[in-house]
């Protein structure tokens, strides 16, 4: 497994109720993401454990876009990945964000 720790600036959405949420399942080509309140309102934190080696740059690009796309400052996203493609990673993160908003 490869691990990646990333902290990125992101806007904060005050209406998002800080809570714990698990989305997705660890299975081949898929991942789970655990969303929790983070340490800093102006940044979001990503902790990634992935089965696919050598994709640190791609992860950074995917996560950076996500942090730009949505106001997720003040949140931590912990990911267990079993070889999801970037499209699936982005989709699961978007879905997790939408679940946060709707709950």
């Amino acid at each position: 497994m490869e691990t990646l720790h990333l902290e990125l600036p992101s806007l904060q959405d005050d209406t998002l109720f800080p809570q714990t949420l698990l989305h997705g399942v660890v299975s081949s080509g898929n991942l789970e993401v655990l969303v929790e309140p983070g340490p800093d309102a102006a940044r979001c934190v990503f902790e990634v454990q992935t089965a696919a080696h050598g994709f640190s740059e791609v992860w950074q690009a995917v996560l950076r876009d996500f942090a730009t796309r949505h106001p997720v400052g003040g949140l931590t996203f912990s990911i267990h990945d079993a070889g999801a493609t970037p499209a699936v990673v982005s989709l699961r993160l978007d879905q997790a964000y939408q679940s946060l908003r709707s709950s």
Binding site: G83, T85, P86, A87, L91, D94, Q95
Partner: protein
């Protein structure tokens, strides 16, 4: 004026045919051959160097005749030149390994692609050329006419009339070329019957037939279980329907095989209907009877389908929908690969399919290293037919987009590639250089095996958006448009962000949001069927899926 040359004999081919038939007499009773005598018959009538067509496409296979040929003595039968659509069976490869055959002209080698590549590298095989189906069929009448063809049919009667059943496929074109150029036609049939449901090949064109010990093998190659369709594929199907089908009003089309296109088929009666597209798009099809098309047929989207071949399990459904499918008086499907390919090339406004790799010029290839897969029919469908003259709204609109401010003298077929940016980790779909180039070098080919030429491609659909290549005004723009939908692949990350945003402003690149599509709506709930069982239900119990697809 020259006088006719006195010694020139004008019927040498017919004489040679008579000699072959003479030598075959001991091994046949009239036209009927016993399975046990087939090897002897082939050894008697074949001559070294003969051009032989062994029928078989990606569906039905003259498997018994192929095995019989492979069992011939290489001392008696050798150096044959095979001219056939598909290399699919292990016995096809044995022919070359044993020296029974030496030279090959073909179209497609799916299951034997790896073994074929090894034979090429060990120089056990000479490849004339790799064709599309229509090219090969064309050459049957020009310079690759078979001297002997070994075909597969459903049934024969006592005189040797043949019934082909729903899987007509390549048989008519092969027999036409062989029988009318003094060749020998040998058929394997599944059964001999008193009265055929219909005569597809008249006995006068058939020299021998054999009732094979077991029915010819047919793969259910066009069945896609909806269970395996992903949310990403649903999203891409939504984009294709809204951004291309609706935008151009595509009424006549062909779908490649795969889960991406199966998703589109299953979204037409749900998402497509919600956009008000029924009766406006996807009315006339060149397509095998895909089980995933059933809901769209039942919903009244699909009005007519002509097929290359059939699909296992669809027989009863097709027979019950003669307004949609082409059927004989007996009720069963009448397919025909040569005609359907022609229809796909000239009579359709759109081809949409998937691929394994695409470069920055839009060239795409399904070639992977160490395998020679060939082309099949996709390039016939997936190319702009520059000979086309009749107009349609979709064809004209695409042509207008391509010609830009210039004078429009022709339309343009929509050739759409729908691909996810990554197939799996370590396998990006978008690449700077296709593996096909390396394969060309390894195999000593003249050209890289490119499935769809980039200059024929009109649109690329990925999960990131749609790139409309018709609107690109330079190779550089085209490359940026492709990079702009190539996601997080190295190719995609090397995009020029400013240029890509400009292309987006011009509508060359359209994101889901630009199309008014909310990514959250892309769930499997949109599929008109989520399982094979749903397809059976949609067909009113008429579709009878093969056992490997059932869970009941």
């Amino acid at each position: 004026m020259n006088a006719p040359q006195p010694h020139r004999v004008w019927n040498q081919e017919a004489q040679r045919r008579q000699a072959r038939l003479q030598r075959s007499v001991p091994f046949a009773r009239g036209k009927a051959v016993a399975p046990a005598d087939m090897v002897s018959l082939l050894e008697a009538l074949l001559e070294p160097g003969d051009r032989v067509c062994l029928e078989g496409n990606n569906q039905k296979q003259a498997d018994f005749l192929s095995e019989s040929l492979a069992a011939c003595s290489p001392q008696r039968v050798h150096d044959l030149h095979l001219v056939q659509s598909v290399l699919a069976l292990p016995s096809h490869m044995e022919l070359f390994e044993k020296g029974i055959a030496r030279r090959l002209d073909f179209s497609f080698a799916g299951p034997q692609a790896h073994r074929l590549a090894r034979l090429v590298q060990s120089r056990s095989i000479e490849i004339g050329a790799i064709h599309t189906y229509l090219e090969l069929f064309g050459r049957y009448f020009i310079d690759l006419t078979p001297q002997v063809c070994l075909i597969a049919a459903q049934a024969a009667d006592a005189e040797g009339n043949l019934y082909l059943g729903p899987n007509t496929e390549d048989t008519p074109v092969i027999v036409e070329a062989t029988a009318f150029k003094s060749g020998i036609v040998i058929a394997q049939v599944n059964e001999r019957v008193e009265h055929l449901p219909r005569v597809d090949i008249p006995a006068g064109w058939v020299d021998f037939f054999v009732v094979a010990p077991s029915p010819n093998h047919i793969e259910p190659l066009f069945t896609r279980d909806p269970r395996h369709i992903t949310e990403i594929q649903v999203l891409m199907a939504m984009m294709a329907i809204k951004g291309i089908y609706a935008e151009y009003g595509v009424e006549r089309l062909n779908h490649g095989i795969g889960f991406d296109t199966a998703a589109i088929e299953l979204l037409l009666p749900t998402y497509g209907a919600s956009l008000g597209l029924k009766g406006r798009v996807a009315r006339h099809w060149a397509l095998n009877p895909h089980p995933t098309l059933i809901p769209a047929i039942e919903a009244g989207f699909v009005e007519r389908v002509h097929s290359f071949g059939s699909e296992v399990g669809m027989e009863a459904y097709v027979a019950a929908r003669p307004d949609v499918f082409f059927t004989g008086a007996d009720g069963s499907l009448r397919s025909n690969r040569a005609f359907c390919q022609t229809a796909g090339l000239y009579a359709c406004d759109m081809f949409i399919g998937s691929t394994l790799q695409m470069d920055l010029a839009g060239n795409s290839s399904t070639a992977t290293l160490g395998r020679i897969t060939g082309f099949g029919g996709a390039p016939n469908m997936g190319s702009d037919a520059r000979g086309r003259r009749h107009a349609s709204p979709a064809w004209l609109k695409a042509g207008r987009e391509r010609s830009g401010s210039g004078t429009q003298v022709r339309g343009q077929k929509l050739v759409v590639q729908t691909v996810e940016t990554w197939r799996e980790p370590h396998h990006p779909t978008f690449v700077e250089r296709l593996d096909a180039w390396q394969l060309m070098e390894d195999m000593g080919m003249d050209l890289p095996p490119i499935m769809i030429y980039g200059d024929d491609v009109s649109h690329v659909v990925t999960e990131e958006g749609i790139a409309n290549l018709l609107l690109c005004r330079s190779p550089e723009e085209r490359a940026q448009a492709i990079r702009g939908v190539a996601g997080y692949t190295p190719v995609g990350r090397a995009r020029d962000q400013v240029l890509v945003e400009n292309l987006r402003d011009r509508g060359v690149i359209r994101r889901p949001a630009d199309l008014g599509i909310d990514v959250r709506d892309a769930t499997r709930d949109l599929l008109a069927a989520r399982s094979i069982k749903d397809l059976v239900r949609a067909s009113g119990g008429l579709y009878q899926p093969p056992k490997q697809f059932r869970n009941w």
